[in-house]
């Protein structure tokens, strides 16, 4: 959501090996990437655990209402006596999954449009004008209006977010592809009759991978934030338990105002931490790629 200054300064030839080496180097040396990875892998870890084990059923009332945290209910209970810890654990699965789906779709759209308009001159005009239009659409108000009309599911919301946020990525990738286009390796490829689609979607994509990777990480975080904002306004999907759903239900029952901080702090703080973790990784990698 928040436009970031992405450095399109990766001008060197880059093959898969150097790309991996850079990433591994960054993981080994950059404190930023390490912290980010620690945070994200913690949440991914609990998501994996929650697939196999959740202490209580997520929706069913299992204890007294508004019970503060204790050994029985680690994070306390909700107004309906549901276990917040179970919800938080189980919610991590869907939160991350939905975020990743939205982020992946954003990247696919962005890469497709960016590479196409950067490499093919006739595609440039239409795609970039479309990108201009999409860039001026305010995401949240539009999602609210659409949400009010159709009561979308989580998957629908992920698709909508992708449709609304590919443009910035496409623009950056386009300029990158434009500068890559004049490099020798492309010329070699063209002259040795490598098909156009292969140059575009194999070589170009490989050379813009750093950009794609950092941008996708940001996109995942932004999608999670957008969905939670939708949930807060009350037009977001609540059919599956996610951290956004937890916040939605907690708001509905005035959790914080009733003093049930344990219901509202875990999902909110988890969203903030997870999104920040992703940003750390992305930011750290960006720096590493720049030095490459």
């Amino acid at each position: 959501m928040f436009p970031r200054r992405l450095e399109n300064s990766v001008r060197r030839n880059l093959n898969r090996n150097t790309f991996l080496t850079v990433i591994l180097n960054a993981v080994a040396t950059s404190r930023m990437v390490q912290i980010g990875l620690a945070i994200t892998s913690f949440f991914v870890g609990i998501a994996i655990i929650s697939v196999f084990y959740v202490p209580y059923p997520v929706w069913a009332p299992v204890g007294p209402s508004f019970a503060p945290p204790s050994w029985t209910y680690l994070f306390g209970t909700t107004a309906l006596g549901q276990d917040v810890f179970s919800q938080w654990l189980y919610g991590s699965q869907w939160t991350i999954l939905v975020g990743v789906i939205a982020g992946a779709m954003t990247s696919y759209l962005g890469v497709f449009a960016g590479v196409l308009s950067g490499y093919m001159r006739y595609a440039d005009g239409p795609f970039m004008r479309l990108a201009d239009v999409v860039l001026t659409l305010p995401t949240l108000p539009l999602l609210i209006v659409v949400g009010a009309f159709f009561q979308p599911s989580y998957f629908d919301v992920a698709v909508l977010i992708a449709i609304l946020s590919w443009a910035a990525m496409a623009r950056t990738i386009r300029s990158e592809v434009l500068s890559l286009k004049n490099q020798q390796f492309v010329e070699v490829a063209v002259q040795s009759n490598v098909p156009k689609y292969k140059i575009m979607f194999v070589d170009m994509v490989r050379h813009t991978l750093p950009l794609i990777l950092t941008y996708s990480l940001f996109a995942v975080g932004d999608a999670i934030l957008t969905i939670s904002a939708l949930n807060f306004i009350g037009v977001g999907p609540i059919s599956v338990m996610t951290w956004g759903t937890m916040l939605d239900l907690a708001e509905g029952n005035l959790a914080l105002l009733s003093g049930a901080w344990w219901w509202e702090i875990p999902p909110g703080l988890s969203i903030a931490l997870f999104v920040a973790g992703l940003a750390f990784v992305a930011y750290g990698l960006e720096g590493a790629f720049k030095k490459m």
């Binding site: 928040f2 200054r5 001026t136 949240l140 904002a229 009350g234 903030a272 920040a276």
Partner: protein, 296 residues
Amino acid sequence: MPGNFAEIYASQLASLHHISYRIAYERVATLLGLGQPLYVQFLTYLHEVLFSFPPNFGPSFEFYPIPAWTIVFLALRWTLLLLGTAIVISLALGLFIGIFLATHKNKSIDRAAQPTFYFLNSIPQFWLGILFIIIFAIDLHILPATQAQSISANPPDILAHMVLPLAVIVLTTAPGYALIVRGAAVDTLGSDFLYATKAQGLRRRRLFLRILRNSLLPIVTNIALSMGYLIGGVITVELVFAYPGLGSLIQSAVVTEDYPIMLAIFYITTLIVLLSNLAADLIYPILDPRVSYVSS
């Protein structure tokens, strides 16, 4: 199933006024010209929205027959006040903190600030808003929790009501600007022209201004680009603080399925983003002499 206004309005008429649903529906249908073919209705709609001033979105369902535009305009005043102030403060903070961090590149403060800023940038705004209400309004009792003004509406009163919403918006957006400015300022500090400028023996104040001016470039584009995001943030924050702006209005419109209002809000927010992009494009050549729209 999305609600059908004619049905909803008719059912409201019917249930509130104890009249038959059929009679109510017929009345509403005549009222809205539902007899016309669909494309005629749509063309009429487009014409009214695009070619009249102010744009005519038709009467609001909830405030019938007051035009939706009038209602949205009432709310827009407050939103623009909040948005404008938030941008000015975020911009100022972002610029100075960004330049400061750039001049302290790789010092401990810079290293500490970056993760902090990314974290601040990642906090859901509405969540922070509720925390602030609990702490500053309910527990500490030092700031008003909700609304934009009280009985004695005077500038200090309005300012006091703005502090908490502003704090939330600034705290979550200024770090983003600061990081952008930092990146730009680092580039500027390392660039050749700065060495040239130093070699010219310009006064330090001039030097600072040069860096400021060069760091302004990315932030101007980014404010324009992030306008959509900012408006989204302002909307959620307004709802938390019951600020009588677009956020509260869009919530009500969603609840009552007041589509003219929703469409008008969407139209005006898009217009704001569009205009701010235009403004950025116009300001750009002033800030950066290298950019020119006049073909040479």
